[in-house]
Amino acid sequence: MLKMTDVKKVFRTDLVETHALKDFNLQVGEGDFVAVTGPSGSGKTTFLNIAGLLETFDGGTYELDGQDVSNLNDKHRSQLRNEKIGFIFQGFNLIPDLNLFDNVDVPLRYRGFNSAERKKRIENSLEMVGLAQRMKHLPSQLSGGQQQRVAIARALAGEPRFLLADEPTGNLDTKMANSVMELLKTINDAGTTIIMVTHDADLAKQARRNIYVRDGQVSEL
């Protein structure tokens, strides 16, 4: 389902050339729950950004659902992102002046669903994260944990094949972090493939599979 072969990513400035990923090889199967750990600057987030088509790469191949994404144009990359990938960020990244309903609506709008279909999906996904009653609230009226739940609802509303989570519990206390982790496990049990970058070894242990990234290369734990 997700296959990276010898993927390279180099960040260049006038003075320095940083190899963020070096011959990065990884295969993630359908329904997997992969926790990615590693020290700061090891290339975890770069890997996740490339996997989520947020960044391009400089060498190697990357196949998503059997499709080589190396040479896709912006329109196709955006469409793949919208249809197949859901994102969860450490900082939630909700749009502050939109209520929960409209925040979850954003990816669905770009998908081109009609209004009835969007409404159904938004209500279902907010129901799943337990915030259906608060859909008219603004993000600022919610706690951090609740905001992350809204972000999860937004990621799930389009029923993506992959959920990419970058430190999803990084800004939450332990209780809320566990609650979010339980939610992710439920989502994974329902069939969605999850790749989660985390520093938290305890959380990583709860994933089905653990990989360790160091110096831009991956090793299985």
Partner: protein
């Protein structure tokens, strides 16, 4: 597309202060351009659009054999009494009319209407149909044969209001110039701008109060208004001496049936001058000028070079405003970088973002146009206050309104192009943590 428009609309008003500054910057530049362009556009407007190419101003070179009337070698702009009467009597065009400004006392019989010094236009009856002069009541008169002048008059709406309280005065009498005139027509509002048919008192001067037959001027020996140019030295003292002289004081206009008749009429004028040469006049080589209305307005430089200079300066000012607007738009777009990166991560492609930003710029342009027009109205009112003669034509018509909106939208799009280009190249991952 609806969603893109909705986002653009919301974004426009998200940072209200910044939006207001951008709109103000664009609208000031637009107002400067609209005001100066309005002057050029309105001053050079075709005053008789249905037939301006067929209505021709006649100039004949009867001047001093040793010196041109206007250097380097141009004929006088007006004609003599004898040429005016001869050419009108020849009836070689569809319509022909000579005219001149004169004045005299008007003494209404109504006790409530005070006597006044009326400025009059002595002209042939075909003046009215040739220039499509609108009548409220009645009509003009037929071109009178020489020495068959009748004491008839056409009043402007304002004079009819003053003398007859605005009633239908056709057939009523009006004592003036020591005679009793019969009113045959009352004009509706008529303020041709520019006043192309006679610009001796300025291209935007007021039309005269009353119209009287051309021959009455000679019969009653009325004063010569406007500009009289003479090159002969021994005119004699009599009024008839002046009429027989080579002094020019009369505007001469003709209307030909079709454009193809232009050269026929030119041929006729040349023949006329040849004929006059045989009588000992027109010592200079044939140098007739026949210009249609718009050519005549260009010849008279109704729109002065100064106004074009002002327009160029206004464009320069707009250019400066665009630079400022671009900087403000850039600030506005920079503030939305995070949201754009997020939307891109959630599925928006570069085209979506480009379209949204362009629509946002267009909305700013429309707002700039609205406020630009409001500022322009103030500006034009100020000009009308300083130059009252301009007040009759200084208005914003559909063309000027379209010009304002077109220029404003174009300006805002140009200002926004750079910031949009940078916004669209926002690295998505960099702004999302």
């Amino acid at each position: 597309m609806n969603y893109t428009f909705e986002l653009a609309y919301k974004n426009t008003f998200k940072q209200a202060n910044l939006t207001a500054l951008i709109v103000l910057t664009i609208s000031l530049g637009i107002a400067a351009c609209v005001i100066t362009y309005a002057l050029i556009y309105l001053m050079s407007a075709d005053p008789l659009p249905t037939k301006s190419a067929r209505v021709l101003h006649v100039q004949l070179d009867n001047w001093d054999p040793n010196k041109a009337a206007i250097e380097p070698n141009l004929p006088p702009e007006q004609v003599t009494w004898q040429d005016a009467t001869n050419i009108v009597a020849a009836k070689q065009a569809k319509y022909q009319a000579a005219s001149a400004i004169t004045w005299g006392m008007v003494t209404p019989t109504d006790k409530n209407a005070a006597p006044f010094l009326g400025v009059m236009r002595a002209t042939h009856g075909e003046f009215f149909p040739m220039f499509n002069v609108p009548f409220l009541y009645g009509q003009g008169w037929q071109n009178a044969e020489p020495n068959e002048a009748k004491y008839v008059t056409v009043l402007t709406k304002e004079v009819n209001e003053r003398v007859f309280s605005g009633e239908n005065s056709i057939g009523k009498t009006l004592p003036m110039l020591g005679k009793i005139f019969t009113v045959v027509g009352v004009l509706d509002d008529w303020h041709p701008s520019p006043k192309f048919y006679d610009m001796v008192y300025g291209a935007f001067s007021k039309p005269e109060d009353l119209y009287i037959p051309f021959q009455i001027k000679a019969e009653l020996e009325l004063p010569h208004g406007g500009i009289t140019n003479c090159w002969e030295t021994n005119l004699g003292d009599s009024y008839q001496g002046f009429l027989n002289s080579e002094c020019t004081n009369f505007e001469l206009w003709v209307e030909v049936d079709e454009l193809t008749h232009f050269s026929d009429y030119e041929f006729y004028l040349n023949s006329y001058v040849q004929q006059q040469k045989q009588l000992g006049r027109f010592a200079r080589p044939i140098n007739n000028i026949l210009l249609d209305i718009n050519q005549w307005l260009s010849y008279k430089r109704v729109v002065s070079k100064d106004i074009y200079v002002f327009f160029s300066l206004a464009l320069l000012f707009l250019f400066v405003c665009l630079f400022n607007a671009a900087s403000l738009i850039s600030t506005k777009f920079t503030a939305s970088t995070h949201e754009v990166a997020l939307r891109r991560a959630l599925g928006a492609n570069q085209q979506n973002i480009f379209l949204q930003s362009m629509i946002e710029a267009m909305i700013l342009g429309v707002l700039g146009g609205v406020f630009g027009l409001i500022f322009s109205l103030f500006g034009l009112q100020g000009i009308s206050y300083l130059y009252p003669n301009f007040s009759t034509f200084l208005t914003l018509d559909l063309t000027l309104i379209s010009f304002a909106f077109g220029l404003s939208i174009l300006s805002s799009l140009i200002s926004a192009l750079g910031p949009i280009w940078f916004l669209n190249r926002t690295p998505i991952a960099k702004h999302l943590t």
